[in-house]
């Protein structure tokens, strides 16, 4: 009756599902906080040159990266992002309506694709950032069709670059950092990702 989880197991446990769902919902609530603290400032800056506003894109991609890095199972990014998008939709106060879910789908699939290529086996900061970047690519392509179809080619390129930088820098970094921090605090001991973060932290302490 030993319980070391050495072999990869892609079957979702109850705790994987519910932790991802609740964390995604919590991030949905944090988005709402973001609207209060940051969004007014950031949007004002964005109006000077609209593609700059796309530098915020990464914020909305955090759940996908966090889900993937936390659970390490197929579908985690998509699941987390769709739930966060639904929460945002239900809390209201934005202009996107159910198009939120299309965005959520695109964003989740972007991160999902990166970890699929990696066989859901390799998780580190670099891949988290690549995940965030590809997620941004997917989202921006969707926005090309629906939100900014009239932009000139040059402006579309700038738009893409801003989105990708944000996806990597915000979603990748913050998503990764959140899982590491929660793991170090010891609240993710039921997850391989959390246990690794906790052990890495102890290792560092020992060296210091």
């Amino acid at each position: 009756m030993t319980n070391t989880n050495t072999e990869r197991n892609f079957k979702w446990r109850g705790i994987d599902l519910v932790t991802t769902a609740i964390l995604a919902a919590a991030l949905g609530v944090a988005f709402w906080g973001y609207d209060v603290f940051i969004y007014p400032v950031a949007s004002t800056l964005g109006n000077i040159y609209p593609p700059l506003a796309e530098l915020q894109l990464g914020v909305w991609l955090i759940p996908a990266v966090l889900g993937a890095v936390l659970v390490r199972k197929p579908g985690a990014a998509l699941y987390a992002e769709l739930i966060a998008a639904t929460v945002e939709l239900l809390l209201g106060g934005n202009s996107w309506g159910w198009a939120n879910l299309v965005s959520g789908l695109a964003q989740g699939l972007g991160v999902e694709l990166v970890f699929l290529v990696l066989g859901y086996r390799r998780y580190n900061l670099r891949f988290a950032m690549i995940g965030g970047a590809i997620s941004a690519v997917f989202e921006v392509i969707y926005e090309y069709v629906s939100w900014v179809p009239e932009y000139s080619v040059l402006q579309k390129a700038v738009y893409m670059v801003c989105g990708v930088i944000s996806g990597a820098a915000i979603a990748g970094l913050v998503g990764w950092w959140l899982v590491q921090t929660l793991g170090r605090l010891g609240v993710l001991n039921a997850f391989a990702s959390g246990r690794e973060a906790r052990l890495a932290d102890k290792e560092e302490l020992r060296k210091a």
């Binding site: 769902a21 906080g33 809390l91 106060g93």
Partner: protein, 702 residues
């Protein structure tokens, strides 16, 4: 797992419980939490499980229930031969997995794949067994009192007729009356079913008479006593007392009463000079009333008006007070020295002194996240006392404290009063209530749901059920209509067509808003208006040849597919959406169910967030400015996620103990059933047709 559907009473004999040489070592623990534990309960036997804080009682119950194995964060050796069991956790709020009492109680039966018709009779039977037939089963569990919630959770276990009940501190957070009702409910079930039971409880006097066996774990997780309850309690009385267990005068040997709290305390220096009152003016005012009686509203009001520098607040969720990497830093908070009077150099010394008085002197350099619930509460109390406030608001300070720590906590409360502070005290603890100078009673309010005026589109306001204002369409209908509008909108080619479609859509939406008051949220128009204008502007400005018309077309499209969702989604109920995804679209049940639970938690997460903001304002540690705001946001997000993760783990355990991950029973696969049917009505068809018609108009008019 046993899922017998047949009626309640009967001579069903369980197979008893055998635990042999069970050793459990939690992840990264140096020593096992329970060590070589062996015992056997014969069918029908019931045991009391005792031990000091941290003795591994919860670990033992979790392992027997099988939930710990699901968490994969412990090394387990030895054998457990247990029948299907039901585990009741102390934290009942996190055990709730639905937005109505009915769904919550039905959860286990759904996991077992029992058909909906049978489920509803099982649910009413279980609710009757725990004495809750009186409450409407469509009530939101979050509006129940602690005692009702505990019984409702118990009912959720009873639907599956478990042959073993495991209760982890089931009455620790309840007042005396509620605790009695929970015990009665357990007793009724055990007598009618002949099931086994193990009850872990610090405050065990009320339980002892109905539990024939007593098991005692020592601090290192060894089973050191096992025998008839009376005998064990008599033999081990001194040991139990030394552990701070609540051996009250009702126990057979009856030697112990709670010690006088004045024992060995010195009041901290008087804060009274700030307000010119004399120390004698301090008093304790108890806030008494059932959940939903307006206590919380009153408290929020008072805190909102409070002068931060004169106020201390210990919130019910002590996790919110964490503000640093170590216990000491958390009390002092890195931001604090900047805002507190610089002359007050004694803050650090006072913090250390307070922590020592509250039994945390050895934990100064520990991470606050490693503390137990009881320790965290004492940390929160120390934090609220640090600035020697004139007015103190304390929410359940004694929950989870053993007798030793209870004395320390109560001592500090009394010391605050004796120093001139006015202490507002919300508590269910009858022993603590004895020290109240005044009592403020909140009568049961007529309306039980929370109304948050600022946020009309709250997820839980819609849960106020009843057919009044019932919407004619469902979430899935709305989703479908939104998809249709999106599809058509992308094909719009002329401004005239798009304009026509949009105007007609607006008329339909306005008509719906006129007909259904709960859709009237004109505020929701603003973000759409701003969004549409900025889409138009940017698509014009940044286009290759600066034509107004194509840009306007893009903006009209966005408005056309965005509006219905923005205006109608506020009325959506997460649970009926889940029902539809599972039953109509046949999506996999487990992810859908877990997702619904995530949505149900949103309201509580928002309340937590708001409390966190309030608490940091009162403590004077709120950061402002562009960089400060960003850091503040980071702090709030991280603490919210920590709290959510801890809660999620409890929720996962509560789900597993109700068979959430069970995939087969006696070789037959289980398909999760749905207790409530999904709705799909004529209104949904009309909504889809309407969306398609508007889309066609937009496409065809040129």
């Amino acid at each position: 797992m046993s899922t017998e559907v047949a009626g309640g009473e009967g001579e069903r004999q369980g197979r008893g419980l055998t635990v042999s040489r069970l050793t459990v070592t939690p992840f990264e623990a140096k020593a096992p939490a329970i060590s070589e534990v062996s015992f056997r309960l014969e069918p029908g036997e019931r045991a009391l499980l005792l031990g000091p804080s941290g003795a591994g009682k919860s670990t033992l119950l979790l392992t027997i229930s099988g939930a710990l194995q699901q968490l994969e964060s412990a090394e387990i050796s030895g054998q457990v031969d247990a029948p299907a069991s039901g585990l009741l956790l102390q934290n009942t709020a996190d055990s709730s997995v639905a937005d109505t009492v009915f769904r919550d109680v039905a959860f286990g039966a759904e996991s077992a794949g029992i058909p909906a018709l049978t489920i509803s009779s099982l649910v009413s039977q279980a609710l009757a067994e725990v004495g809750l037939s009186g409450i409407p089963d469509q009530r939101n569990p979050e509006t129940l009192s602690g005692g009702e919630l505990a019984r409702s959770c118990l009912a959720g276990l009873l639907t599956l007729r478990p042959q073993l009940l495991l209760l982890d501190e089931p009455t620790a957070m309840l007042d005396a009356n509620s605790a009695t009702l929970v015990r009665e409910a357990v007793k009724t079930y055990l007598e009618s079913s002949g099931a086994n039971a193990i009850v872990a409880e610090h405050f065990f006097a009320g339980w002892a008479p109905m539990l024939d066996r007593t098991l005692v774990l020592d601090g290192s997780g060894h089973l050191i006593a096992d025998g008839p309850t009376e005998l064990v309690l008599a033999d081990q009385a001194d040991l139990l007392l030394s552990w701070g267990l609540w051996v009250t005068e009702e126990t057979p040997e009856g030697a112990w009463k709670h010690p006088a709290p004045a024992l060995g305390l010195e009041p901290w220096p008087v804060a009274a000079e700030a307000n010119g009152s004399s120390p004698a003016s301090g008093k304790i005012i108890a806030l008494v009333g059932p959940s939903g009686s307006g206590k919380t509203t009153w408290l929020n009001q008072a805190l909102g008006d409070a002068v931060p520098s004169e106020t201390g607040w210990m919130p019910q969720n002590p996790l919110l007070t964490i503000a640093g990497e170590t216990v000491l830093k958390s009390v002092l908070a890195p931001e604090l020295p900047k805002v507190v009077d610089k002359a007050d150099g004694g803050l650090r010394g006072r913090a250390i002194d307070l922590l020592a008085r509250l039994g945390l002197g050895d934990a100064l350099d520990q991470s606050p996240h490693s503390l137990s619930g009881g320790q965290l509460r004492r940390l929160a109390l120390a934090t609220s006392l640090l600035r020697q406030p004139r007015v103190l608001y304390l929410d359940e300070p004694t929950v989870g404290q053993d007798a030793h720590n209870w004395v320390k906590v109560t001592g500090q409360v009394l010391a605050a009063r004796d120093s001139g502070a006015t202490v507002y005290l919300a508590t269910h603890d009858p022993l603590l209530l004895e020290y109240a100078d005044e009592v403020m009673t909140f009568p049961q309010a007529a309306a039980v749901h929370r109304i948050d005026a600022a946020n009309h589109n709250d997820l839980d306001v819609q849960k106020v059920s009843g057919s009044r204002g019932q919407l004619p369409f469902s979430p899935l209908g709305l989703l479908g209509a939104s998809a249709v509008t999106l599809g058509f909108a992308l094909g719009f080619q002329s401004v005239l067509g798009a304009c026509t479609a949009l105007i007609l859509e607006l008329l339909v939406l306005l008509a719906l808003m006129a007909r259904y008051p709960r859709l009237r949220h004109p505020k929701l128009f603003w973000p759409v208006l701003v969004g549409v204008i900025s889409v138009w502007f940017s698509n014009w400005w940044l286009s290759a040849n600066h034509l107004l018309e194509p840009a306007a077309l893009v903006a009209l499209r966005v408005a056309f597919f965005g509006l219905p969702g923005v205006l109608l989604s506020s009325a959506i109920s997460a649970s009926s959406f889940g029902d539809q995804l599972g039953q109509l679209l046949h999506m996999p049940a487990r992810p859908v169910v877990a997702g619904m639970i995530g949505l149900y938690r949103v309201q509580r997460l928002r309340t937590n967030w708001a409390n966190l903001v309030l608490l940091r304002r009162i403590r004077g540690i709120r950061q402002t400015g562009p960089i400060g705001g960003l850091r503040e946001l980071g702090t709030l997000t991280l603490l919210t996620l920590v709290d959510a993760t801890r809660g999620a783990q409890q929720t996962a355990i509560a789900m597993e103990t109700r068979g959430f991950s069970a995939t087969e029973e006696e070789g037959k696969p289980i398909r999760r059933s749905w207790a409530q049917p999904a709705t799909w009505g004529r209104g949904d068809v009309w909504l889809l047709l309407g969306a398609a018609a508007l889309g066609l108009i937009g496409l065809l008019v040129r």
